[in-house]
Amino acid sequence: MVKWTEEERQTIRSVWEKVDIDETGPQLIARALIVYPWTERYFGTFGDIFTTSAILTNAKVATHGKVVLRALDRAVKNLDNITETYAALSRLHYEKLKVDPDNFRLLADCITITIACKLKAALNPQVQATWQKFLSAVVEAMNNQYK
């Protein structure tokens, strides 16, 4: 189980409270689809996601970004329990959605970069380190039921 210092908890919360899910959610999945185009394979029901302009204006992409960040909110609120909090999500992504778990790592990197665009210098090296420690725990929890 991951251990968090009080300082790390504060840092994670202070990053998260600066993130507007309605603003950042749409940007996140769009960026993932553009930067890692093979992720298209998981969104067959989203309609046109095959060009940059289509991705950036696709309503389902935007909605899904908000879904992902709302799930991340649960991890922020359950730092001592991320594995259990995400057990059902992990099983869903493995058994039903059949997502290659390497994509969780790629999405985590996209989250950091999207947040860097918003927070700029506020995401200083120490804050980035703590934020990425949090995302590693999230990625590990998402991998947990892949067996």
Partner: protein
């Protein structure tokens, strides 16, 4: 070819099969990516390289034109983040008294690294040959585990995103990411 693919896998994310069947069962014919058996060897190498298109090169040069004045600051920031976010990388810099993000050693070395990136932008049409000397340096003298190149690449992307959020669009991001992957491949050319 298999060697090149496995080496690239250490450095760049390798996509799953490009047959593109989605979880909804619909065949995804985007980007014309159907493979024939005779193509599979070459396709593996192309996938592993994810080589730079003319559009990528133009995007990298356009982004570079906007950010290169800040190259020293970007390099210093990126290296500071590397040793902070990935503490295992400090093992390469044990000879520096101060490994904090603000230390003069880190700042100077970050500047030097960006000199290498600047060179790579200039040699973007032939990274393998353009980076041979740097590759020999990293392979035989510095002996840096090439897995670390992608960690530094990520830190560079975060710094560029933070300093130039309006210019670091998703399109610029993908081209820059591909460029850094190819740069890392060029740097590892001489390793074995």
């Amino acid at each position: 070819m298999l060697y090149r693919a496995s080496r690239a896998a250490l450095i760049c994310p390798v996509p799953p099969s490009r047959m593109g069947v989605t979880c909804g069962g619909r065949l995804n014919l985007s980007r014309g990516n159907l493979q024939s058996p005779s193509d599979s060897g070459r396709e593996t190498e192309r996938e592993a390289d994810m080589s730079l298109t003319d559009k990528d090169k133009a995007a990298v040069k356009a982004l570079w034109a906007k950010i290169s004045k800040s190259a020293d600051a970007i390099g210093a920031e990126a290296l500071g983040r590397l040793v902070t976010v990935y503490p295992q990388t400090k093992t390469y810099f044990a000879h520096w008294p101060d490994l904090s993000a603000s230390s003069p050693s880190v700042k100077n070395h970050g500047k030097k690294i960006m000199g290498g990136v600047t060179l790579a932008v200039a040699k973007i049409d032939d990274l393998t040959n353009g980076l041979l000397d740097l590759s020999e340096l990293h392979a035989f003298k510095l002996r840096v585990d090439p897995a670390n190149f992608k960690l530094l690449s990520h830190c560079l992307l975060v710094v560029i995103a933070a300093m130039f959020p309006n210019d670091f669009t998703p399109e610029a991001h993908v081209s820059m990411d591909k460029f850094l992957c190819n740069l890392a491949l060029g740097l590892s050319e001489r390793y074995r």
